[in-house]
């Protein structure tokens, strides 16, 4: 059923994006997969590849399980220098209401990263190209594409964006 663009929906979407950013910035990674549906697609992809039609992603997950594996990587297996991140996300723009009840949303994002003894640096800018659906009464990402503009990654991309 097509969703209606009510004020309530707008507020719900806005709150979702704020909560999503907070989850990452506060490093509550265990909660992160829960923002997604079971069969979600999550991609972090350079604008270069995206615009040239090249399929390689920096991160590509095809299910909530893979997101959980990514969390395992972050928390259990990967070795990296400690860091904090801060997301600044523009107001999400609802641009499509699908026949299947899905909601198309786009937003610009900026991530600032801080390493030990270093000044804050702009780590990534880009835009979210997202599809939300309601599942168990809650809006979740069925698809989240993070298309980043940066031509270079400041060494590693450890945390999701």
């Amino acid at each position: 059923m097509i969703a209606t663009l009510t004020p309530e929906l707008r507020f719900e979407v806005a709150d979702l994006y704020a909560d999503y950013a907070e989850c990452l910035d506060e490093q509550r990674f265990a909660d992160w997969p829960d923002f997604f549906t079971e069969d979600c697609v999550y991609k972090i992809i350079p604008r270069e590849n995206f615009e040239r039609g090249l399929p390689l992603c920096t991160v590509w997950a095809e299910s909530r399980g893979m997101l959980k594996d990514r969390v395992t990587g972050i928390t259990e297996t990967m070795m990296y220098m400690p860091r904090t991140c801060r997301h600044i996300v523009s107001a999400p723009r609802i641009h499509a209401l699908g026949a299947d009840g899905s909601i198309g949303v786009r937003a610009n994002y900026l991530v600032v990263q801080i390493l030990a003894d270093e000044p804050a640096r702009v780590f990534q800018v880009g835009r979210y190209l997202d599809t939300l659906v309601r599942s168990d009464g809650v809006l979740r990402f069925r698809e989240k594409l993070c298309v980043f503009d940066d031509v270079l990654i400041d060494n590693s991309l450890i945390y999701p964006v």
């Binding site: 270069e48 920096t58 095809e62 893979m66 990967m78 070795m79 990296y80 990654i153 060494n155």
Partner: protein, 406 residues
């Protein structure tokens, strides 16, 4: 002063001033990157048709690789012969000629100067001197070598043939993956790593770390110190190859030495490890370092070139070009892309490497007078049929000392 001492012949101690001294770096550019060595430039598959070009880098100099009408590839420096403008600013494209924006000098993809506006003056006034010789004022053109899908270039006309440069053993490994089948470009990853470029070469020549640093690898059996494996080199010691195979997730006396081994980890969605055996022989990993500029990666079903682009003594850009074979079916492409989650700046194992070499540079750069102890597997520089050795690092420095006169 004393900080710059390095006993002749020693390769099991590497002094840390090699990683931060600007003069050493300048000489590396001159003798190594611009000397008689082949530097990686492109895949053939990136520039399939006549006129297709790709901007690339050799050392700190930008170059342009263009497919010619006859199928050959020309590589020229991206610096106008007139007053030095880096005229080509597009990452890739298709062109029959290059026009410098400043005064619109026109060059053929081979570097030949094709046109100089107002060369004969305007209304009889001005213009270039009568003896101006376009032939002597083209772009600097590099030597080019191509083999089975990859393009290399050299600023030094005295560079040996690519085959001689690699030597028969390295060539054999090279031809294993690059067997003549056309490649299919899958995309790029680009990192800037604040560390000396040699640390990345060392990293890939170092099988010792693979089973210790990379918990993901070890935990899921992709790499273990107790697998049958080998470290081999060309006679000069500059190139090397690590060969190994998948193992199992078992506990034994080796895992005892691996403190980070995570016995209880399970993947929620194991499709990332849906590996198929693809090449002849038992090896599932063949990592080849082609000195000084590139790493040829074959790990399970993921293939990439990793291009080192130095930017001063304490920094380099690391450009990953992922690809498959042109005749891969959709499932195989999907498999390669999935496994790409292991590699690149966010890779389950490669992120470790980028981080650890940044941490190396941090420790190294504040102590130029100290030195590394590179003694695993002895102090020699020969091939080994196991992973418990740093021999390939020592071999590289044997060659490095020679070419650098250090």
């Amino acid at each position: 002063d004393g900080a710059r001492h390095w006993p002749p012949g020693e390769v099991s101690r590497i002094p840390y001033w090699l990683y931060s001294d600007p003069e050493v770096y300048r000489r590396e550019l001159e003798r190594i990157f611009y000397g008689p060595h082949w530097c990686y430039v492109a895949l053939d598959a990136e520039i399939p048709n006549p006129g297709d070009f790709k901007r690339s880098v050799v050392g700190e100099r930008q170059v342009i690789a263009t497919r010619l009408e006859d199928g050959a590839v020309a590589v020229v420096e991206n610096r106008c012969a007139h007053r030095g403008v880096r005229f080509c600013q597009r990452e890739h494209g298709t062109a029959t000629e290059f026009v410098c924006p400043y005064h619109q000098w026109v060059y053929a993809p081979t570097g030949e100067l094709m046109g100089v506006p107002f060369r004969r003056g305007v209304k009889g006034q001005g213009g270039m001197p009568a003896d101006f010789d376009p032939k002597a004022n083209g772009l600097r053109r590099l030597e080019v070598a191509r083999r089975n899908g990859l393009v290399f270039a050299s600023f030094d006309p005295a560079v040996p043939s690519f085959e001689d440069y690699l030597g028969p053993l390295m060539l054999q490994y090279y031809d294993r993956t690059y067997d003549g089948r056309p490649l299919k470009l899958l995309g790029y990853s680009r990192q800037r790593i604040p560390a000396n470029w040699k640390l990345m070469m060392e990293n890939i020549k170092d099988p010792y770390h693979a089973g210790l640093l990379h918990v993901f690898f070890v935990t899921f059996g992709l790499f273990r110190a107790d697998q049958k494996s080998a470290v081999e080199m060309d006679p000069a010691g500059r190139h090397g190859v690590l060969v190994s195979r998948k193992g199992d997730k078992v506990l034994n006396d080796v895992t005892q030495d691996m403190r980070q081994f995570q016995e209880n980890l399970q993947l929620q969605d194991p499709r990332i490890l849906d590996v198929v055996h693809e090449w002849p022989g038992e090896a599932t990993v063949v990592m080849q370092t082609l000195f000084p500029s590139v790493i040829l990666q074959q790990q399970v079903n993921s293939m990439s070139t990793r291009h080192i682009r130095p930017r001063g003594p304490g920094c380099f850009d690391f450009v990953w070009t992922h690809f498959g074979y042109a005749d891969d079916d959709e499932e195989m492409t999907r498999r390669r892309l999935r496994q790409a989650n292991l590699f690149g700046p966010a890779g389950y194992v490669s992120a470790d490497d980028g981080e650890v070499i940044e941490m190396s540079q941090q420790g190294i750069s504040s102590d130029p007078e100290a030195r590394a102890v590179v003694e695993m597997g002895g102090r020699g520089t020969g091939n080994a049929d196991h992973m418990v050795t740093e021999t390939a690092i020592r071999a590289m420095y044997r060659y490095y000392r020679e070419v650098m006169g250090l």
